[in-house]
Every structure is written in structure tokens, then in C-alpha cells.
């Protein structure tokens, strides 16, 4: 089974507002899927559905072969936290990263927990910042810590919802490089981003939201040059903003 995520005929409404209409696509192990769409297209909604945070009635989402409604999916998740989190919170990077462990061991961290902590901090280049208060770091460093927290659970799939919002341009570039590197190490990546060109650059598959809640999956290497430049120019994003 190469398919890690299968979405079949998924439709979703918030009470009366239809957001997704008959969306179908699949993601294979090792893919980098970029989700593209204008504001309010339904990108975050789709991600919340995949994470099992929203109930849906019509269609199916299978993650690791299991329905996300019945079994809590094992995924690493990074949200747009940097922009919203309470910087006065007295927690160190270590403490934050360790809080991503799936089943916290009682009382003491095991040697395995600590080994994973060291490994994840190293992967995101934050080894020296383990004991620093997270609120005192730059936006880019904070997001690296959140990526480490998403990795420490040991999931083979990483979902990121606009991970670069509120981060300065230099750090955005290095965060995108980090995400690509994580993807190359075998972790399946699904992410949204407002900066379409950057995302098209990094991804190998694109889920493009059209109007009326439809979305189509395209492989980047199957796109023609004209379609590609359209995407880069953002023409297929149906700007409402």
C-alpha cells in the first residue's frame, strides 16, 4: 500500500455554508503535496478534516488505511502558531518539543524520549536553543521548535497550515528548505501557503482549489510550461482578496 492518505468524494458544510464539494485525491508515501487556493477556499477546513478535528458526513478520509473518524490519526501538525501564541508563556524549547510525544510516559522521560528530543532539535537546527524560553526567540526559531514538536511523535506524515505566516522573508526561505529536507528524509508533507510560487517550487503534487469547493490534484511534472507560469503568477487562485 503506497497510498498514505486517500480522500474520496469528500463534501463538507459548516452548518449551512458548503465549503468542500466532492473532493477526491490521494497522497503517496514520500509525496510533498501543496494545497493552493484563495482565502476562504477551504484549505484549513480540509486539513482539520484530515486531522480528525471536524466531523463530516459525506465521503471518506483514510489515513494509514483507517477512517480518521474512528481512529485518531498519527500525524505531525504545525499550525500558524507563531502569529497567535502567547509569547509570555514561560516554557523552554525542550519543554515544548517534548509535549509533542504521543503517549507521555508517567513521571519521567525515558532515555528513548530524550534521544528523540536531541534528534528532533538537531533536525531543525535548534540544538543550542533547547533551554531558551520559546517566547524570547524569533518567529522563525519558534516555528522550527513547533516543527520539532510535530516530528517527535515519530509520524511519517507532516501537515503544515501556513507555517510561514508572520515570519520574516529570510527565515521563510530557510524554513521551506527545512521542510523540503524533512520530505527528502522520507516524511510525507502536506502544506498550505499563501506564497504560491514558493509552494509550487517545493511541492511535487498540487491540490488546487477551484471555485465552489471543488479541488483538483495535479502532478507538477505533468504541468505544461504555460500552466506552470499561470500558477506562479497566481492566476488560478481566483483572488477575492
Amino acid at each position: 500500500m503506497k497510498e498514505i492518505l486517500i480522500v474520496k468524494n469528500l463534501s463538507f458544510k459548516y452548518s449551512d455554508v458548503p465549503v468542500l464539494r466532492d473532493v477526491s485525491f490521494s497522497v503517496e508515501k514520500g509525496d510533498f503535496l501543496g494545497i493552493i487556493g484563495s482565502n476562504g477556499a477551504g484549505k484549513s477546513t480540509l486539513i482539520k478534516l484530515i486531522l480528525g478535528l471536524l466531523p463530516y458526513k459525506s465521503g471518506e478520509i483514510l489515513l494509514h488505511g483507517a477512517d480518521v473518524r474512528t481512529r485518531k490519526p498519527n500525524v505531525g501538525y504545525v499550525s500558524q502558531k507563531v502569529a497567535s501564541f502567547n509569547t509570555g508563556f514561560p516554557a523552554t524549547v525542550r519543554e515544548v518539543v517534548l509535549s509533542g510525544l504521543k503517549k507521555p510516559s508517567l513521571f519521567r522521560y525515558t532515555a528513548e524520549d530524550m534521544r528523540r528530543l536531541g534528534e528532533c532539535l538537531e533536525r531543525v537546527g535548534m540544538t543550542e536553543y533547547g533551554n531558551k524560553l520559546i517566547g524570547r526567540l524569533s518567529g522563525g526559531q519558534q516555528q522550527r521548535a513547533f516543527i520539532a514538536r510535530a516530528l517527535i511523535g515519530g509520524s511519517d506524515i507532516l501537515i503544515l497550515d501556513e507555517p510561514t505566516v508572520g515570519i520574516d522573508a529570510m527565515s521563510v526561505k530557510s524554513i521551506m528548505e527545512l521542510i523540503s529536507e524533512i520530505n527528502r528524509s522520507g516524511v510525507t508533507v502536506i502544506m498550505t501557503n499563501h506564497d504560491t510560487p514558493t509552494l509550487v517550487e517545493a511541492a511535487d503534487k498540487l491540490l488546487i482549489f477551484c471555485e465552489h469547493g471543488n479541488a483538483e490534484l495535479v502532478k507538477k511534472n505533468e504541468l505544461s510550461l504555460a500552466e506552470m507560469s499561470e500558477l506562479y503568477a497566481g492566476k488560478r487562485r481566483h483572488h477575492h482578496d
Partner: protein, 271 residues
């Protein structure tokens, strides 16, 4: 002055009161930390004002007032949970509604207390003289339970306090832990109302945590510091009030506020 102290501490009730105060000063910041970080301090107020209504009800019905306080303060957090569903996102509204109900009920019920009308007063501002052995045992038992539960679940409590959404995705039982936290708050408030006073307990939940946050180097370090601050405030307040013949709870809170202000000024100067 030394003589006064020695004489005072030869009394059994003074020793017991100090011991109880020391244990309450462990649980108040322990619970205060997640409550403050989640910006839910209003829940402490709602629980403590409802606890007062429980004291009044206990005095009327002839039930031990501390038991009444525990019952009502647990009912208060259950009420907040119920209201919260109606005003999701505005948990303060729920807390204020329940607090209002608590104050209203206290005012009405206290009109029916025939004997020992000063009792409700002693629960408002705390009292060390009036505490019975049963109440000390009850307070100790509840406090030990709060310490044990918050120790067992400290990882979960941290994860949920820092980021509820991420905790949910990591598979933690977010709703149950949140509820547990509310329950622990209710118990802490009720347990402390006897000695510290219902109107003072919120301060003991919040002030040591606020002081610790100014200098804490990590979450764990901040929790430890907040317990140390609470102990310093309450033990020194206890002695100062004994020597100067002041109300202990008020003295404790005022010392806490003074220390917090000094820390804030020092920190401001460092910058």
C-alpha cells in the same frame, strides 16, 4: 516579640494552622499556574464565591461548612462547564454568571443563619482560630489529593495549557484533562477557604505565579518558584500578623502584592 511568638506557638491550634497554611501554599500556585496561563483566573473567583454560598448552606443545615464549600465550589465549576457550551469562546461570561449566582446565594442564605453569624465572615477573610481538627484533616486530605493528581498528570496539563489544539492532535484527552483541572481548582479553593478566606484565595492562586513568571527560566522552574513565593508570602505573613496582631490572610496577600511590585520594578530597571 520573641516571647510573644514562643507563647503563641505553644498553642496547638497555631501549629496546626501553620501546617495547613504551608500545604495550601503548595497547591494554590500548583493549580494557579495552568489557570493563569489559560487566562481562566475568573474561574477561581467563581468557585470561591460559590464556596461561600456553600458555607452559608452548611451553617443553615448544620453540615460542616467546609464540606458545604467543597460541594458548592464543585457545583460551580460544573455550572461553568454547562454555561460554557452556550457561550463557547467566552468562558469569562460563564465564570461571571456563576460567580454572580454564588454571591447572590451567599447574600440570601446568610440572612437565614441564626447562630454564629460571625462564621460566614471568618470564611470570607479566613481564620486560624476557629479551625476544627476535622477541618484540618479534610483540608490536608484534599490538598494531598490535589498534589497527587496534578503530579500524575503534569505532562498532560502542561501540553494542554500550552497548546490545546496540538494536545488534541497528539491524542491527549483534552476535555477530560480540562475538566480535571477545573475540579482541582474547585477543591483547592474550597480547601483554602477556611484558613485563607474565600475572598483571598484567588490572590494566592495568581500572585505567586505572577511573581514567578517574571524570573522563571522554564515552565518547571516557574512552577517551583511560584510554590516558593507562596510559601514565603504565607509563612512570613503568618508571623508578621501574629506579632502585629493583624488578620493573617490580609497580611499574606499584601506581602505578596508588595513583593510582586518590587520584582516588577527591579525587572523594569534591568531592561
Amino acid at each position: 516579640m520573641i516571647d510573644t511568638l514562643i507563647e503563641m506557638f505553644s498553642y496547638d491550634f497555631m501549629q496546626k494552622a501553620l501546617l495547613t497554611l504551608i500545604i495550601i501554599s503548595v497547591i494554590a500556585p500548583l493549580i494557579g499556574m495552568p489557570i493563569v496561563m489559560k487566562r481562566l483566573s475568573a474561574i477561581g473567583d467563581a468557585a470561591s464565591h460559590s464556596a461561600l454560598a456553600g458555607v452559608a448552606a452548611g451553617l443553615i443545615l448544620g453540615v460542616n461548612p467546609v464540606l458545604g464549600a467543597v460541594t458548592f465550589s464543585v457545583l460551580a465549576v460544573l455550572g461553568i462547564e454547562a454555561f460554557r457550551k452556550a457561550f463557547s469562546k467566552y468562558s469569562e461570561i460563564a465564570a461571571v454568571v456563576v460567580m454572580s449566582a454564588g454571591i447572590g446565594l451567599t447574600a440570601v442564605l446568610s440572612g437565614f443563619i441564626t447562630s454564629g453569624a460571625s462564621s460566614i465572615n471568618s470564611f470570607m477573610f479566613g481564620s486560624i482560630v476557629a479551625v476544627s481538627d476535622f477541618e484540618i484533616m479534610l483540608t490536608m486530605g484534599l490538598s494531598l489529593a490535589v498534589i497527587a493528581v496534578s503530579w500524575i498528570f503534569h505532562r498532560e496539563i502542561f501540553a494542554i495549557t500550552f497548546d490545546e489544539e496540538a494536545a488534541k492532535i497528539a491524542g491527549l484527552p483534552v476535555k477530560s484533562i480540562n475538566f480535571l483541572l477545573m475540579l482541582l481548582t474547585a477543591i483547592t479553593v474550597a480547601a483554602a477557604s477556611r484558613i485563607v478566606g474565600a475572598l483571598m484565595i484567588s490572590s494566592l492562586l495568581v500572585i505567586p505565579v505572577a511573581a514567578a513568571m517574571l524570573i522563571g527560566k522554564s515552565y518547571k522552574n516557574t512552577v517551583v518558584l511560584s510554590v516558593i513565593f507562596a510559601e514565603i508570602f504565607s509563612v512570613s505573613g503568618f508571623f508578621v500578623s501574629t506579632v502585629l496582631n493583624l488578620r493573617p490572610s490580609g497580611t499574606i496577600v499584601l506581602i505578596g502584592v508588595a513583593v510582586l511590585l518590587i520584582l516588577m520594578i527591579c525587572r523594569g530597571r534591568d531592561r
